[in-house]
């Protein structure tokens, strides 16, 4: 009996220290999420301007560009997975990984070979544990992506897309990331970034109405050539920023739930400990009383 009381006390203690940790993580995530959302908002004028320019070139001239053309000379495709560096974010990483697995399976069914690029330590360890090969990995800043990293990722993928088939060129580039809808909803998204689909990818940028007839300086090909890599980089950077905001939101919610659960556990264990203590006291009293009774009846 005395044993169970001690066990409950220990559990209460360890749950209390876990609760402190959950609470701290929740507060950290909460304080960072505002900044992450601001960064998403700040990056949008850039991508809006580029998107508008790309659609202007695409609608007003008949230029073709390698980034827009479908490649048929290779079966290889690249997939970029954007997950988080740390856990404690509920199902955040698991969801994007599951979505990626589904995409890979679908691509394999179509007879494609998949090269996987991964950002985020959780996803890297998922694949290394299963001894699956990764074509590239980036870790260390999933909750605050830097522009240089985005550029490095984008340039790696662009290089693969531009390479000839026998030197590891890929025909398509897909990206799996988590879209930040709002604080409660983050949705995993799968998009094909290359070859670019100007028709669906560049919906009218909202403000402008019909696009005017532009002059191109020096000529449409050069302008497109300058725009498309920037467009691609901007899309990659935007996915990383969205993923970062989603990660923090998921972490905040998961840690909030964990704190609540810890409180529930502490309450349950406190009740059980009280019950055990009461039981012990009752037992002691009945032992004393029965002892006294026995003495009284003996004399």
């Amino acid at each position: 009996m005395a044993g169970s009381q001690r066990v409950y006390k220990q559990r209460i203690k360890s749950t209390q220290s876990l609760k402190k940790m959950f609470r701290a993580q929740e507060l950290i995530a909460a304080s960072r999420i505002g900044k992450a959302r601001d960064r998403v908002a700040l990056a949008s004028p850039y991508s809006r301007a580029i998107t508008r320019a790309v659609s202007a070139v695409a609608t007003h001239s008949d230029v073709t560009h390698p980034f827009l053309a479908r490649r048929t000379d290779t079966n290889r495709v690249a997939v970029l997975l954007v997950a988080s560096d740390r856990g404690m974010a509920g199902a955040y990483s698991a969801t994007v990984i599951r979505e990626t697995e589904r995409l890979i399976e679908q691509l394999r069914d179509e007879g494609r070979e998949v090269d996987l690029y991964v950002s985020g330590r959780r996803a890297v360890s998922y694949y290394t544990f299963r001894q699956r090969e990764l074509a590239g990995r980036w870790v260390g800043q999933s909750d605050a992506p830097q522009l240089e990293t985005a550029r490095e990722i984008a340039d790696t993928l662009l290089e693969r897309f531009g390479a000839p088939a026998d030197e590891g060129g890929v025909a398509e580039v897909h990206v799996v990331y988590t879209q930040f809808v709002n604080m409660v909803t983050q949705r995993p998204r799968v998009i094909r970034l290359l070859p670019l689909e100007v028709v669906e990818g560049v919906a009218p940028a909202g403000d402008g109405g019909p696009l005017p007839l532009y002059d191109f300086e020096p000529d449409p090909e050069t302008v497109l050539d300058a725009l498309l890599p920037r467009y691609f980089r901007a899309r990659i950077f935007a996915s990383l920023l969205q993923a970062a905001a989603s990660e923090l939101a998921a972490r905040q919610r998961a840690m909030h739930t964990a704190t609540d659960n810890a409180e529930d556990l502490i309450r349950t264990y406190t009740r059980l400990a009280n019950q055990a203590r009461q039981g012990e006291i009752t037992q002691e009293i009945s032992e004393i009383v029965s002892g006294a009774d026995a003495l009284a009846s003996a004399s």
């Binding site: 960064r39 700040l42 990056a43 004028p45 850039y46 301007a49 580029i50 508008r52 320019a53 202007a56 070139v57 522009l147 402008g208 696009l211 005017p212 007839l213 532009y214 002059d215 191109f216 300086e217 020096p218 050069t222 302008v223 300058a226 725009l227 920037r230 980089r233 901007a234 950077f237």
Partner: protein
């Protein structure tokens, strides 16, 4: 008072400057380009160089840019740059 231009200067991480201006000059692919109100719509690649904005209040803002592009569309100038440094302003 001449007509003015609506100028947005943006880079990948945010909006650098936005406001009204009388004149914008930028290092276009074939040479320095100067834009006043009423300019024909243009999309141009930018080289590395100096972007200068003459604001309404006669001040001149300038930035050194590493490259990017510029679009003009019904008196709205959008300058998209990769990286920029040393913002300086002076008034004449």
């Amino acid at each position: 008072m001449a007509a003015t231009l609506e100028v947005d200067l943006v880079d990948a991480v945010g909006k650098v400057w936005s406001g009204r201006a009388r004149q914008v000059s930028a290092p276009a692919a074939d040479g320095e380009i100067g834009i006043l109100a009423g300019h024909t719509p243009i999309l141009s690649v930018l080289r590395a160089g100096e972007v200068r904005v003459r604001t309404e209040g006669e001040g001149v803002l300038s930035w050194h840019v590493d490259g990017g592009f510029l679009s003009v569309d019904s008196d709205t100038v959008t300058i998209v740059v990769d990286a920029l440094s040393d913002s300086t302003s002076s008034s004449h």
